[in-house]
C-alpha cells in the first residue's frame, strides 16, 4: 500500500500516463477476450483424437522423467515402451501403420508432467500416452487427460483408491500386491509384530493406512511407523527405532535411493535379513542391481512379475530386452507392465479399428493378453488388469526367485470394496 500511495500521489506528469495506459489496456483486453472467446472455445473441444491416425503413422506419447531424481527408475520403463513399439512396428504396426513415439521429459517435476501431457495431447495429437511413475505425477496429469478425453497408460504399482475413466492401470493395485504380501507374512512367516518404514509420500502413507486396517482385523501388532524424506540416505534414527521395537518383520515402502542406505545401515546395526525379514514392495531387479545383491540377498519382495517368471512369453520378452539394451540389463515388474501397456493399447486399437479414445476404451473391456507375467485381463469397470501376486526372495545373482504365488490372477479392486476391514478407507469416487 505504501508503494501505491507513493505512486498515485505523485503529481509527476508521467504517472497519469501510466494509469491511463493500464486502464486502456485492461478495457480493450477484456473486450478482445470477450469477442475472441466464442470461436476459440468451439474449436478446442473434441478434436484431439481425429488427427492421431490421419497420416502414415500413429503418434503415441511417452512421458517419463528422463532427468531429475526419478530418472533412475523411469529410464528403464521408457526402454520397455520403446521396445514394445519397435516389436509392434516390426510386425506391421497397428491398423497397418507404424507407431511413432513422441518422447517427453517430465523432469521429475509434477507441473512439468502436466504441461508436457497437455502438449502431447493438443500439439502432437497423440493417440495415447504411456507414462508417469510417481503418484504425484499421475495425479498432476489426471485432470489433463480427463479434460481432454485422452488416454494414459500407467505402468507402476500404486496405492489404489483411483479409477479414472481415461487411465489404464497396468501395474498392481494394493489388493494385488500388498495384501497378498501381508497374508504371506502372517501365514508363512508367522509374523506377529510388524514395523512400517516408508518414504514420506503418498504411496507409503496410503499403503500403511491399509496395512494398519488389515493388521487390526488380522490380529497383527504394528510396532512402529516411520517415514524418511524422499531421497534421504541417513537412517540411523529409524534403524535405532526398528531395533528398539523388537519387531518380527519390517514392511518396507521406501523409494529409490533410500533403500540402499536403509539396508546398508540395517546391516551395520547388526540386523541382517536372516534376523529380521523385510518385505519390500518398491525394490525390483533394477534396484537390486544398484543396491548390490549381497546386501539384499534373502530379502523378501512382493510383485507380480520377476525376470525369472516362467513361460514362453517371458522368455521371449527377456531375450528381446537384453538383445536391445545389453546383457547386463534386467527386466522387472514396472518394466514388464510398461511393455504390456503398449501391447494392450495396440490390441485394443486393432480390435476397435480406430484410435478414437472412446472406441479404444470400449474395445479394451475384457481384453485378454498373453503377457510375460501370464495371461492378463482388462477389467470392464476400473480399467485395471488382473494380476497374479508373487512373493519372491532375492538370490545371489540379484534375480528374484518366486517362493509363493496366489491361486491364479487376482481381480483388481482399487477401492478394496470386497474387503470388509477396509471400510475405514472411505473411498471417494473421483
Amino acid at each position: 500500500m505504501q508503494t501505491l500511495g507513493g505512486f498515485v500521489s505523485t503529481r509527476e506528469k508521467g504517472s497519469r500516463f501510466w494509469l491511463a495506459a493500464i486502464l486502456v489496456m485492461c478495457l480493450s483486453a477484456f473486450v478482445a477476450v470477450g469477442c475472441g472467446s466464442d470461436d476459440e472455445s468451439s474449436s478446442s473441444g473434441s478434436s484431439t483424437s481425429s488427427s492421431a491416425d490421419s497420416g502414415d503413422t500413429i503418434k503415441v506419447g511417452i512421458l517419463h522423467s528422463l532427468s531429475g531424481t526419478m530418472a533412475i527408475s523411469e529410464k528403464s520403463v521408457v526402454d520397455a515402451e520403446q521396445l514394445a513399439i519397435k516389436e509392434i512396428n516390426a510386425a506391421g504396426g497397428v491398423l497397418g501403420k507404424q507407431i511413432e513415439p513422441v518422447v517427453e521429459d517430465g523432469a521429475s517435476d509434477w507441473p512439468t508432467f502436466a504441461e508436457k501431457a497437455q502438449k502431447l495431447i493438443s500439439e502432437d495429437k497423440v493417440a495415447a500416452v504411456f507414462g508417469c511413475w510417481t503418484s504425484a505425477s499421475r495425479k498432476a496429469v489426471l485432470p489433463v487427460f480427463e479434460r481432454n478425453k485422452a488416454l494414459l497408460y500407467y505402468p507402476v504399482q500404486y496405492e489404489g483408491m483411483e479409477a479414472s475413466p481415461y487411465i489404464f492401470y497396468t501395474g498392481a493395485t494394493t489388493n494385488q500386491q500388498i495384501i497378498p504380501a501381508l497374508e504371506y507374512l502372517k501365514e508363512e512367516k508367522k509374523v506377529k509384530k510388524l514395523f512400517l518404514v516408508g518414504s514420506d509420500y503418498v504411496f507409503p502413507r496410503t499403503a500403511n493406512k491399509e496395512i494398519k486396517l488389515w493388521a487390526k482385523a488380522n490380529g497383527m501388532e504394528i510396532t512402529g511407523e516411520e517415514y524418511a524424506p524422499l531421497g534421504s540416505t541417513e537412517f540411523s534414527t529409524i534403524v535405532n527405532k526398528v531395533k528398539a521395537s523388537d519387531s518380527d518383520a519390517v514392511f518396507n515402502t521406501l523409494n529409490g535411493d533410500s533403500n540402499v542406505a536403509f539396508f546398508k545401515q540395517l546391516d551395520g546395526a547388526g540386523l541382517p535379513s536372516s534376523k529380521l525379514p523385510i518385505v519390500s514392495v518398491s525394490i525390483a531387479e533394477d534396484e537390486v542391481r544398484a543396491i548390490g545383491a549381497d546386501k539384499v540377498e534373502g530379502q523378501i519382495v512382493a510383485w507380480n512379475y520377476y525376470q525369472t517368471t516362467p513361460g514362453a512369453a517371458n522368455e521371449k520378452f527377456v531375450k528381446a530386452y537384453k538383445a536391445e539394451y545389453g546383457d547386463d540389463r534386467v527386466t522387472d515388474d514396472p518394466i514388464e507392465a510398461a511393455y504390456v501397456a503398449v501391447y494392450l493399447w495396440a490390441e485394443a486399437v486393432e480390435k476397435a479399428g480406430t484410435t478414437d479414445v472412446e472406441k479404444v476404451k470400449e474395445a479394451s473391456k475384457g481384453l485378454e493378453f498373453d503377457a510375460p507375467e501370464g495371461k492378463v485381463v482388462v477389467d470392464d469397470e476400473n480399467q485395471h488388469i488382473t494380476k497374479t501376486a508373487r512373493i519372491g526372495v532375492i538370490n545371489k545373482e540379484g534375480l528374484i526367485d518366486t517362493v509363493w504365488e496366489s491361486d491364479g490372477p487376482i481381480e483388481p479392486d482399487p477401492f478394496l470394496e470386497s474387503y470388509p476391514w477396509a471400510k475405514g478407507m472411505t473411498p471417494v469416487d473421483g
Binding site: 505504501q2 508503494t3 500511495g5 507513493g6 505523485t10 509527476e12
Partner: protein, 263 residues
C-alpha cells in the same frame, strides 16, 4: 585537565573507554574531550586504537567498558542510525560513497535522512537547498550528474564530507581524510574541513603531521590503546619527546598493518 577554571562546553566526553577483541585490548581506558566548535585531531601510530575510538562513538563497535557522553547523553547501547540522528556524522578510511548513484543522488540521500519510509517511496523532484550548498562547498557542482564511482579519490572524500554536511551534524568524525591524496587535494580538503568547522565540531583521525600543524586546534595522541598525551596544542605535541619517539622509533611493520586491517 578535567578541571579547567573557565568551562568550555565539552560536546563529546569519553571516560575510561575499553574495547576488548577476544583478549586483545584495542582501546584501554581512554579519556577524551572534544570541545564545541574546535578541530580536534586524534593521532598515533598504526594500531593505536584511534579508529576503534571513532567506531565506539558511532556505535559500530561495542565497548567493553567506559562511557561516551555526547551533549550529556550516553551513547553506549544506541544503534548507529540513532546516533547519527543525534547529530554525529563520520567518514571512513577509504571513502565510502554510493558508486552506482550520481553525486547529486548521493547528497540527496544524505539530506533525506529524517524522512519517513512513506516519504522516501515518493519520487524525488528537484534538489533541496542543503544539497545545492553541499555541491558548492565541495566544488562538485560540475560533476553533479556523474556517477560517484567515476570520481577521483579526492573527489570521493569531498563527496563523503559533503554528504555529512547535508545532514547538518553537530559533530563530524573524519577518519584519515587526506590519506593517499596529492598535495593540492590535501589543501582543498583542509579548506573544506575549515569550512566545516565553522558549522560544527570536528574530530579528525590523521597520520600526516604537516596537515595537522596547519589545521588542528588541539591534538590528542594515542599509542597502543592508551592516551599518550591528552589534548594539547600542536606546539606542545610537537615538543613532546615521547610523541617523537613513537613516530620515529617505531617502524610501520607489515605485521602490524596486517593486524590492523584484519581487526
Amino acid at each position: 585537565m578535567t578541571t579547567e577554571p573557565f568551562l568550555i562546553d565539552e560536546l563529546l566526553k569519553i571516560r575510561g573507554l575499553e574495547v576488548d577483541f577476544d583478549g586483545f585490548k584495542a582501546v584501554d581506558g581512554v579519556d577524551l574531550d572534544v570541545r564545541l566548535n574546535e578541530v580536534h585531531f586524534l593521532i598515533g601510530p598504526n594500531g593505536a586504537g584511534k579508529t576503534t575510538v571513532i567506531d565506539c562513538v558511532t556505535g559500530m563497535t561495542k565497548p567493553t567498558d567506559g562511557s561516551i557522553l555526547f551533549d550529556d547523553v550516553q551513547l553506549r547501547g544506541k544503534r548507529e542510525n540513532a546516533i547519527v540522528k543525534m547529530g554525529i556524522g563520520r567518514t571512513f578510511q577509504t571513502a565510502s560513497v554510493f558508486e552506482a548513484l550520481t553525486v547529486e543522488e548521493n547528497l540527496d540521500l544524505a539530506a533525506s535522512f529524517r524522512f519517513s519510509m512513506l516519504k522516501l517511496l515518493r519520487q524525488r523532484r528537484g534538489t533541496t537547498e542543503a544539497v545545492e550548498r553541499a555541491l558548492e562547498d565541495t566544488g562538485l557542482t560540475d560533476v553533479r550528474h556523474k556517477e560517484a564511482g567515476t570520481l577521483s579519490h579526492g573527489q570521493k572524500q569531498w563527496l563523503e564530507i559533503g554528504m555529512l554536511l547535508c545532514q547538518d551534524p553537530k559533530l563530524l568524525l573524519l577518519d584519515e581524510p587526506v590519506a593517499g591524496m596529492s598535495p593540492e587535494e590535501r589543501t582543498r580538503t583542509g579548506d573544506l574541513i575549515r569550512l566545516t568547522a565553522e558549522r560544527c565540531t570536528v574530530l579528525c583521525v590523521e597520520h600526516d603531521m604537516d596537515f595537522l600543524r596547519r589545521f588542528a586546534d588541539r591534538v590528542t595522541v594515542m599509542d597502543e590503546g592508551k592516551i599518550l598525551k591528552p589534548a594539547s596544542t600542536v606546539a606542545e605535541v610537537q615538543a613532546d619527546e615521547r610523541v617523537q619517539e613513537i613516530y620515529i622509533g617505531k617502524g610501520r611493520g607489515i605485521e602490524e598493518k596486517a593486524e590492523e586491517a584484519s581487526t
